[in-house]
């Protein structure tokens, strides 16, 4: 049973526009959420995170929004750049076991010049 779901396998956007990647989770014990970015033949790299006590975290072009009641989070990238093209994974962890990340299946983002 997938506890972290990324229902869009792929997303294509135009350079300069906003990219919105979505993630849903089912385990109400999750209290820390992360986004990782992965290029081919490389390991995932940490992008941004959010604690369940917040509903928004921003870092440059990247913003993560958390809606706990809906068990939903999203990653906004604005403006999107061709170098942002990668697979984006949503991940979650539980306090007390925050070393154990549960990942979604990923969304392939393609930013077209």
């Amino acid at each position: 049973d997938q506890q972290v779901k990324q229902n869009s396998p792929s997303l294509s956007v135009q350079e300069g526009r906003i990219s919105i990647l979505n993630c849903d989770y089912t385990n109400s014990m999750f209290d820390y959420f992360l986004w990782y970015k992965k290029y081919p033949a490389e390991g995932p790299t940490f992008l941004i995170s959010i604690s369940s006590i917040k509903d928004k975290n921003e870092d440059g072009r990247f913003t993560v929004f958390l809606n706990k009641s809906a068990k939903h989070l999203s990653l906004h990238i604005v403006p999107s750049q061709p170098g942002d093209s990668a697979v984006y994974f949503c991940a979650a962890s539980v306090e007390g076991s925050n070393y154990k990340l549960t990942f979604g299946k990923g969304t392939l983002l393609t930013v077209n010049p």
Binding site: G43, P44, T45, N98, Y99, K100, L101, T102, K105
Partner: protein, 113 residues
């Protein structure tokens, strides 16, 4: 500085054989993690080391899988009697301390024929 390195980058083995996958974490990182990423899936937690000891091995699928970290640095994931279903990318990550940002290596692609 050097990131997490994993060797080999690719391993092809026959069903029933034994394999060892090596991970060199970032120097000074006390926590080390192994994940497995099957085709079309996100990384799946296998085991977590704090120092030399396996603090959580709940993700190991069965007793054919074993991992060690004898000196608290390099780790080896060992798979006995490999099966075709073991084919996946095996990712290693390390963090400065447990729960801190995890830095991933590029992975070892294991193919069992």
């Amino acid at each position: 500085g050097a990131g997490v390195s994993q060797t080999p980058s690719n391993k092809v083995t026959e069903k029933g054989k034994y394999v060892e996958l090596r991970c060199d974490p970032i120097s000074g990182h006390t926590a080390l993690y192994w994940y497995r990423q099957s085709l079309g899936q996100g990384p799946e937690f296998l085991i977590y080391f704090q120092g030399t000891g396996a603090a959580d091995d709940s993700g190991l699928p069965n007793d054919r899988f074993f991992a060690v970290r004898p000196e608290g640095s390099v780790s080896t994931l060992k798979i006995q009697r490999t099966e075709r279903g073991d084919s996946a990318v095996y990712l290693c990550a390390s963090s400065l301390v447990s729960g801190a940002e995890q830095y991933f290596g590029p992975g070892t692609r294991l193919t069992v024929t």
